[in-house]
C-alpha cells in the first residue's frame, strides 16, 4: 500500500492523460473554452496545451498527447515522450486519466502504469459511457474506484455542467490522500488490467435487436469503406461530393460576400474622403483594405464550406479508413498508411501536417512525410485553384460539377506526385527498411453537428483567415509602396516582373505570375490578390470576388488555357509558405531537410510546367 500527501498550491495544474481518441481534447476544450483540434481518429494531438478552467480559473489544465502505454525511453513515439517528460518534470500537481468505457481493459493498462511510474495524485474519468451502454456494457464506477484506490468519475467529455462540478474536485485532488495497491512488484499489468476491467464491467439489459442492428450497421460501413474496390470508390465519391458542395456553396457565398465587402469599402471611401489626404487615402483603401478584403473574399467562401464537411468526415471516423486503404500504395513507396493522415492534415494547413508527422514511429518515414507534405494543397491554395479552374477550365462559376471534377483531378495529381516523390526519396536520400504499420480504426460515430460547425468555423476558418488578414495587411501596404516607388522610369514591381519574364516564359507563365508567387511567400492566400494588383499596375483592384472582372483582367494580360494550366500546376507544386518552412526546421532541426522540403515541390512544379509548355508548343 502507498500513501500520498501533498500541499495544495494556490494554482493547481492537472494533466489530462489517456489513450489516444478517448476524449482528452474534448474534455479540455469543454473545461477551458479553448479550441484544440478534435476528431474521431488517433494521433490528432501531438503536443501539450495549457488552459485555465472557465469555471475555476485557479485550476490549470494541460492536455497531453495520447499514449497507449508508458514505455522506456527510446521505445516511445515523439508525442508519447512529450507526455511522459511533462509528467516527470514536475509540471503537474495531479493527473486525470481519461478512459473509454467501451475499451476499459487496454485503458486501464495505462492507468496502472502511470500509478507505478509517477507519485502524483491521480483520478480517472470514464468517458463515452453512453456509447458503451448502447452496446450493452456498463461500468461500475464505485467498484472501479475501490479496485484502483483512486477517485473515478463518470462524466461525458462534452457535458459542461458535470465538468464544472468536476473542476472543484480536481482542484482539491493534490491534497487528497490516496491509497492504491499497484506497486512495481505486480508481475503483469495487462493481466491485472483485464482482471479489474472484468470485475467492474457488467452487461446491461438492452434490446438485443438494437445492439445487433448497431453492430450490423458498423460492419456494413466497415465493409463499404475498407473494401478492395468499394473502399476506393467510396473515397473518390466522398471527395468528389465534398468538392462539389464546396464549389456550389462557395459560388453562392462569394456573391453575397462580394456585395457586402463592396458596400463596406464604398462606405469607408465616403467616410474617410473628407478627412484624409488623397495619397494616404489611396494607400489605406486601395493598398491595405482592398488586399485584406480580397483575401477575405477569395478565401472565406471555400473554407467556410470545405472545413465543416471535412470535419464531419473526421468525426465520423473515416480518415483512418482512408489511411488503411492508402497503406498499400504508400507501402509500395517504402512508407506507411499513417502518412495519409498527415496528408489529410496538410489539406487544412501544411504547417499542421508537418507537425502531425510526429505520429509516425519510424524517423525515416517521418522525414519522408515531412518532405512531401507541401505537395498537398493547403487551404491557402485551394481557393486559388478553385477560382482559376472555374475561370479557365470550365468557363464560369456556374458549372460546379465540372469544377469539382477538375479539383478532384488536381487533388489526385497531388496524391500521385506525393507517392512518386516518396518512392524516389526512399530509394535515394531516405533509404532504409519499411517499418511495420499499426493504426487503430475507431468505431464510426455520428458527428455532433453543432460543435462541429462551431469548431470548424470559429477554430479553423476564422483562425486561418485571421492569420491571412494579419499577413495581407502589411503585404498590401508593401505592394502599394513597390508599385508606386519609381526607379529609372519604372516602378520596382515593373522591374521585378520584367526580370522574371524570361524564366517564367519557359514555365508557361509570365513575369507577373512568377513575381506573385515570390511575393506570396509569407502566406499562400496572398497569391491571387497580388496577381490582380500587379496586373493592374498598382491601380485599384477589380471588384472583390467578381469572376467576370477577373476573367477580363487575366485574358487582357494574355492568359490562355496553357497559362491557366501551368499556373494551376505551379499553385500545387511550389515552395512552401514561410510558416511551413519554419515548422519543417522546428521538427527536423536540419537546414538540409528544410531546404530539400522547399526544393522538392519547386522542382516538381518547374518540370511539369516546362513539359506542359513544350507540349503546347509542339501542338501549336
Amino acid at each position: 500500500m502507498m500513501r500520498r500527501e501533498r500541499e495544495v498550491p494556490k494554482r493547481v495544474t492537472v494533466a489530462l492523460a489517456g489513450n489516444p481518441n478517448v476524449g482528452k481534447s474534448t474534455l479540455f476544450n469543454t473545461m477551458t473554452g479553448l479550441r484544440r483540434h478534435t476528431g474521431n481518429w488517433t494521433g490528432k494531438t501531438v503536443d501539450c496545451a495549457t488552459g485555465r478552467c472557465r469555471t475555476l480559473p485557479a485550476l490549470q489544465l494541460v492536455d497531453l498527447p495520447g499514449m497507449y502505454a508508458c514505455h522506456e525511453a527510446g521505445h516511445m513515439l515523439a508525442e508519447e515522450a512529450e507526455a511522459i517528460t511533462f509528467l516527470e518534470s514536475g509540471g503537474a500537481d495531479a493527473v486525470l486519466v481519461i478512459c473509454d468505457a467501451g475499451a476499459l481493459p487496454r485503458n486501464l493498462i495505462l492507468v496502472l502504469q502511470l500509478m507505478q511510474r509517477t507519485t502524483l495524485p491521480m483520478a480517472v474519468v470514464v468517458n463515452l459511457s453512453k456509447e458503451a451502454r448502447a452496446h450493452g456494457t456498463v461500468v461500475d464506477h464505485a467498484q472501479l474506484a475501490e479496485r484502483l484506490g483512486i477517485p473515478v468519475y463518470d462524466v461525458e467529455a462534452y457535458d459542461k455542467r458535470a465538468l464544472a462540478a468536476l473542476a472543484e474536485t480536481l482542484y482539491a485532488l493534490p491534497k487528497s490522500r490516496q491509497t492504491h495497491t499497484v506497486t512495481r512488484e505486480v508481475p503483469s499489468l495487462p493481466a491485472l488490467a483485464e482482471d479489474i476491467a472484468r470485475s467492474v464491467t457488467h452487461t446491461t439489459v438492452v434490446r438485443r435487436d438494437r445492439v445487433e442492428r448497431r453492430r450490423d450497421g458498423q460492419a456494413r460501413a466497415e465493409r463499404l469503406t475498407s473494401g478492395r474496390v468499394s473502399g476506393y470508390l467510396v473515397m473518390i465519391g466522398l471527395l468528389a461530393l465534398l468538392l462539389w458542395l464546396t464549389m456550389v456553396g462557395a459560388n453562392w457565398l462569394s456573391d453575397a460576400l462580394s456585395v457586402l465587402l463592396g458596400w463596406i469599402e464604398g462606405w469607408l471611401w465616403r467616410l474617410l474622403s473628407g478627412w484624409l489626404p488623397e495619397l494616404l487615402l489611396d494607400f489605406l483603401l486601395n493598398g491595405v483594405v482592398r488586399t485584406v478584403f480580397w483575401v477575405v473574399g477569395v478565401m472565406l467562401p471555400p473554407m467556410a464550406i470545405f472545413f465543416p464537411l471535412f470535419s464531419a468526415l473526421e468525426d465520423v471516423g473515416y480518415l483512418p479508413r482512408m489511411a488503411f486503404l492508402l497503406d498499400r500504395p504508400l507501402a509500395a513507396c517504402q512508407s506507411c498508411g499513417k502518412q495519409a493522415l498527415t496528408m489529410c492534415m496538410g489539406l487544412g494547413c501544411n504547417s499542421v501536417g508537418v507537425t502531425g508527422c510526429r505520429i509516425m514511429e519510424s524517423p525515416r518515414e517521418r522525414k519522408l512525410a515531412i518532405l512531401t507534405n507541401s505537395l498537398i494543397p493547403c487551404n491557402g491554395r485551394l481557393p486559388t485553384l478553385s477560382i482559376i479552374v472555374a475561370l479557365f477550365l470550365v468557363g464560369g462559376a456556374g458549372s460546379s460539377w465540372r469544377s469539382a471534377l477538375w479539383m478532384l483531378l488536381f487533388l489526385g495529381l497531388s496524391v500521385g506526385m506525393t507517392l512518386l516523390c516518396t518512392a524516389i526519396l526512399s530509394r535515394t536520400v531516405c533509404r532504409g527498411e519499411r517499418s511495420t504499420y499499426l493504426l487503430e480504426l475507431p468505431p464510426f460515430r455520428r458527428p455532433r453537428w453543432g460543435q462541429l460547425l462551431v469548431r470548424s468555423v470559429l477554430d479553423r476558418t476564422i483562425r486561418i483567415l485571421g492569420r491571412a488578414v494579419m499577413v495581407s495587411a502589411p503585404a498590401g501596404a508593401l505592394l502599394w509602396v513597390l508599385s508606386h516607388v519609381t526607379i529609372g522610369g519604372g516602378t520596382i514591381l515593373t522591374h521585378m516582373t520584367a526580370m522574371l519574364q524570361y524564366p517564367a516564359a519557359y514555365l508557361g507563365m509570365d513575369g507577373v505570375i512568377l513575381c506573385a508567387f515570390l511575393l506570396s511567400f509569407p502566406a499562400n492566400e496572398l497569391l491571387l490578390p497580388i496577381m490582380v494588383m500587379l496586373y493592374q499596375g498598382g491601380e485599384r483592384m477589380v471588384e472583390i470576388g467578381s469572376y467576370e472582372a477577373l476573367y477580363t483582367l487575366f485574358t487582357r494580360a494574355g492568359w490562355s488555357e496553357v497559362t491557366a494550366l501551368c499556373t494551376l500546376v505551379f499553385v500545387l507544386f511550389h515552395w512552401p509558405c514561410a510558416t511551413t518552412l519554419a515548422t519543417v526546421y522546428r521538427e527536423s532541426r536540419s537546414l538540409k531537410t528544410t531546404a530539400l522540403s522547399a526544393a522538392l515541390p519547386t522542382i516538381c512544379g518547374c518540370v511539369l510546367c516546362f513539359l506542359i509548355y513544350l507540349v503546347s508548343k509542339i501542338n501549336l
Binding site: E222, E433, E440
Partner: protein, 86 residues
C-alpha cells in the same frame, strides 16, 4: 488443430493468437492494445494479400501490416475448433 500465421486468416475468420515473438517490432504496440497470448481475434478486412489487414480484438479494431518482419504470431482457427467440436 491446424495453426497458421496471422496474415493467412480469411476475412470473417475468428482465431486465437497463440504466440507472438517478443522481438517482433509490433509486440509492444499490440500488447498495449490488449493483445495477449490466447486472445481471440477476428479478421475484419484484407486490403491486399500483402496487407494491411484489419483485425478486431479486445473490443478494438486495428489496421496492421507487418512490414519486412518475417512472421507475426501463430493463430489457431476458432472456426475450425467449432467444426471439430473442441
Amino acid at each position: 488443430m491446424k495453426n497458421k500465421t496471422l496474415d493467412r486468416m480469411r476475412e470473417g475468420e475468428r482465431g486465437r493468437l497463440l504466440a507472438l515473438p517478443l522481438e517482433h517490432p509490433l509486440y509492444e504496440q499490440l500488447s498495449d492494445l490488449g493483445w495477449r497470448a490466447g486472445s481471440e481475434i477476428l479478421c475484419v478486412r484484407r486490403a491486399h494479400k500483402k496487407g494491411p489487414y484489419a483485425y478486431r480484438t479486445a473490443g478494438v479494431t486495428v489496421a496492421l501490416r507487418m512490414g519486412d518482419a518475417a512472421w507475426i504470431g501463430v493463430i489457431s482457427s476458432i472456426d475450425e475448433e467449432d467444426r471439430r467440436g473442441v
